[in-house]
Symmetry: C2
Subunit: 143 residues, 2 copies
């Protein structure tokens, strides 16, 4: 039951919430022991804050929940590959696993030759089409 | 009067505030038209939050002050070279200028071959010794 698809669907629901607010539709959840301990979506426009990416909010929120700043035994499910800023934050958090929906060849951290913490396992391509489609649809609606 | 040293001294005072709180002593200020519009220091331990670097707080705070998320005509003075996370945030913010005290060869963005926004001017080495000494002193006290 608690598959990567299961939690990525929750992240995608967060992305849909962002879309409804006219935010770039990216969402994520943080899971610890099969329990969602943080969920968030991009809020850069609403908050007028470039740092309000889904992942940044989720890291802060999950650390609050855990009462410690390191996200050990935690998995982040995110619909789009994290950017440089968010990859840096995930490295500092020493998160155990990051599961990525769609790749972001241009803005994502992978093509910048950045790595996360040595402990962090990275999985890509979970519900890739759905995660990618919602972003494409958003930018098409903006043209 | 409003030299780079003048504002870096203010950033250094922020770093000293961090030191007094047993935080890694890094501080910064954001200046717009010779006026300080944000000041902050590292609070990762106090807030239990890896994202609470001085620069991240200053970006959010300056954007709040300006009422817009882009830090145009703004200069960030920071005592230590920004990390990957903070360099990513500064890129998104399209800040005009970043003035760095001491380099951080290991954790800083420059040696990771990352660049800031094409519009952003970067200056290094302002009060380098003072900015570097306070960090060294902090870690010496920890041993």
């Amino acid at each position: 039951m608690f598959t990567d698809e299961y939690f990525m669907k929750m992240a995608l629901r967060e992305a849909e919430s962002a879309f409804e607010k006219d935010e770039v539709p990216i969402g994520c959840v943080v899971v610890s022991n099969d329990r969602v301990i943080a969920r968030s979506h991009n809020l850069t426009e609403t908050l007028n804050d470039v740092t309000a990416h889904a992942e940044m909010q989720a890291i802060t929120s999950a650390a609050n929940f855990l009462g410690g700043k390191y996200l050990v035994n935690c998995t982040l499910y995110v619909t789009l590959e994290p950017c440089v800023m968010c990859s840096g934050a995930l490295s500092w958090a020493q998160i155990s696993k990051v599961v990525i929906g769609a790749r972001d060849e241009q803005r994502g951290f992978i093509n910048k030759n950045l790595s996360l913490h040595p402990k962090t396992e990275i999985v890509t391509g979970i519900m890739e089409n759905e995660c990618s489609s919602i972003v494409k649809e958003f930018f098409k609606s903006k043209r």
